[in-house]
Symmetry: C2
Subunit: 432 residues, 2 copies
């Protein structure tokens, strides 16, 4: 495919994408396929000679779409949101074209520098303590990770390396293994210190945990994967109080801040803690500026060596929405979850199972786990909306998460009417 | 931005991308900027009100491009290639629009199933032993990782978990830490067993290493990050002989097989080895099919929980090039590296420092490291082409890697004339 064919096919793909997202409400949110559906639909091996683009684009509707769970349907209320916005998609097109690998400053200076500045922009939106920012040429700074899991792993490994170095400095006879046998990572039953757990969006009290960690010289990592986006709104910022006690902090703009996956934002107070744990300096990656003290070589901050130009997505989204637009987006989702909460509360057959703080409502039928399992199964089999469950203490609970960028009050109302119908069926079946 | 504005802006972006790649030869391959160039060019914080798309697109040429190292310029001969092709970019647009997160089969069946089948297609192209494929519902299978580093880490952790379980089964009194203190990971001075090292594209002899690993019950992981793509050509397949002894194998289609970053292909003979080390089953990720034995839930195969629909890129590229087109692409690059090699060999001032097998030529001026360092510095300061060095034993060596999708004989010739000129200058300066 040469560039003139790309011009034509690229524009067709732009229309396909716009059509898909405009029409997504009309697609069944959860697919009908059974495991193994795809293999018989395509050849057993790659073609020797090229297929045409028409063949491929036709196969998207025939082979791919029947097996897609439509995460951006306004009837998708499962898991947590994954971000999707047009500005982020435009930025990703540019990212693909530049196609640089930003493992060092020299490998593409713009890739590294825009990331550092975007992480400062985002840190300021959250009113993070200045110690986490790179702006003042201080010791802190931010980095884009692929996921919150990777951020947690980085924090764990950095903390482990730091404590091993400290103990070996005090007692040089100690082996790494002897130290590691005695290391303890504390966590709650939902993981790290968490703001906005996946199960029920609960919050650890950083003002209690933080001072203890500081006093005992423990590394405190805070994971706010979902909830972090909400902290750009002043009315939710108090949930982040205590972050000043942390060594590292992470949340996922790719969940709730309109920056398409992957973009997990991680800040540390001492960038040297990461770089010391992961430094990698073969000759072919060295460059003339690297020892200047000025330079960020992000390969020392992460597990992979390679990295894409992901900060373009942040730049496009922050500029095209503006902070006020992003705040309005968060507020709309929170308002919709409260609307759903109040519908549930008006029905005496149901109960709310956890405080509704942001965009997640945990609810259930008053009664057995069995009846709630039956309700969820009936809802997900009908495939009009899509939900997933959780366990809170011993109770089986349904999670209703506001997810789609295009979800409106009408979708929440339709979903609730549907849930009530399914509940009536389940309760009737139970009485028989 | 609504969908009708996206239709307009998306098409403008398609043209921008095509213009950028058509005209990339005219851009200086390595930028002039100094560290810290970007921060003064943009505001200190995100705007409160939205910027316009025109503002942003104008800033790309003003702020971003001056700091980009153009990896896809035909004058870029540094590191190793990073893949770029139009079919992969089209697939990425679709991937962004579907925007599903494929951590489980149910989270988007097409995302999981296309990946499994594409990894089989690719495995067949490489003539991998059938034990690595999923096709026969056997114990093996493939997965897309983000990078070779992650694949290596997964292999290490899976191997460690496996040996700990084995030793604890034999001697239940052993603690994890006691076992870990005695575990050894063997590697050469270039890392795992490697096919095509980054330094000089050398190859470990799997037919020697493999049987020893099997006899001693050691996990053998093979990393062919760069070279693996070449094994789709029958004339290079012999370099992979001995893969049948391995437990896991990995290479990066995102380097040399026209599938844009990130797409690192990893196969294991026993998928249970990965899943046993990383199993994660909270209620909100359970689904009705997961215990059927049929199902792949890729979250157990990787560090992150979330994952994009990356197999679309493989599907588009494999179909639009065909196996023959991909082979032709590899062969062209290898031919160009041999062309450069023969130019170097014709000049008695230079020497070739390692066997040229694929697309990398390691060369240097006969003489001191100092003169070669001066040569590289002069080349990279002129910014007409871009190279990086390596150390082979104690020698400072220049690496000439065939990288760009659009590089032709003429670019290699121009680069060589330029290198000779720079060498003449360096040698003259030395004589003074």
């Amino acid at each position: 495919m040469n560039s003139s064919e790309f011009r034509r096919r690229g524009k067709e793909m732009v229309d396909y994408v716009a059509n898909y997202l405009e029409g997504i409400e009309g697609r069944q949110v959860y697919p009908d396929v059974e495991p193994g559906y795809l293999r018989p639909l395509i050849p057993a091996a790659a073609p020797q000679e090229p297929d045409t683009f028409e063949d491929i684009i036709n196969d998207i509707e025939k082979i791919i779409m029947p097996g897609v769970t439509h995460w951006h349907s306004p009837y998708f209320f499962a898991y947590f949101p994954t971000a999707s916005s047009y500005p982020a998609m435009l930025a990703d097109m540019l990212c693909g074209a530049i196609g640089c690998i930003g493992f060092s400053w020299a490998a593409s200076p713009a890739c590294t520098e825009l990331e550092t500045v975007m992480m400062d922009w985002l840190g300021k939106m959250l009113e993070l303590p200045e110690a986490f920012l790179a702006v003042k040429a201080g010791e802190g700074g931010g980095v884009i990770q692929g996921s919150a899991s990777e951020a947690t792993l980085m924090a764990l490994l950095a903390a482990r390396t730091k404590v091993i170095h400290r103990l070996q400095a005090e007692s040089p006879e100690l082996t790494q293994a002897a130290i590691m046998e005695n290391l303890v990572a504390y966590s709650s039953d939902q993981v790290a210190a968490t703001l906005g757990t996946t199960t029920c969006c609960s919050f650890d009290n950083l003002l209690e945990v933080g001072p203890i960690c500081n006093k005992e010289d423990l590394w405190l990592h805070i994971d706010a994967a979902y909830a972090g986006s909400a902290f750009i709104c002043p009315e939710f910022r108090h949930l982040l109080n205590g972050v000043e006690f942390a060594d590292s902090f992470n949340f996922n703009p790719h969940k709730w801040l309109l920056v398409n996956f992957d973009c997990s934002a991680m800040w540390v107070k001492k960038r040297a803690d990461l770089a010391n744990a992961f430094r990698l300096d073969p000759t072919y990656l060295k460059h003339s500026h690297q020892d200047s003290g000025f330079i960020t070589d992000y390969r020392h901050w992460q597990i992979p060596l390679g990295r894409r130009f992901r900060s373009l997505k942040m730049w496009f989204v922050f500029r095209m929405y503006g902070v006020k637009g992003l705040q309005a987006y968060i507020r709309k989702h929170v308002q919709l979850s409260h609307e759903f909460e109040s519908l549930v509360r008006q029905d005496p057959r149901f109960e709310i199972c956890a405080e509704v703080t942001l965009g997640l409502v945990c609810f259930r039928l008053k009664g057995s786990n069995k009846v709630n399992e039956a309700l969820l199964q009936r809802i997900n089999n009908a495939k009009k909306i899509h939900l997933v469950p959780c366990h809170l203490r011993d109770k089986f609970v349904l999670r209703f998460a506001i997810c789609s960028r295009t979800v409106e009050s009408v979708h929440v109302q339709v979903a609730w009417e549907h849930i009530k119908e399914m509940a009536a069926d389940v309760l009737q079946a139970e009485r028989k």
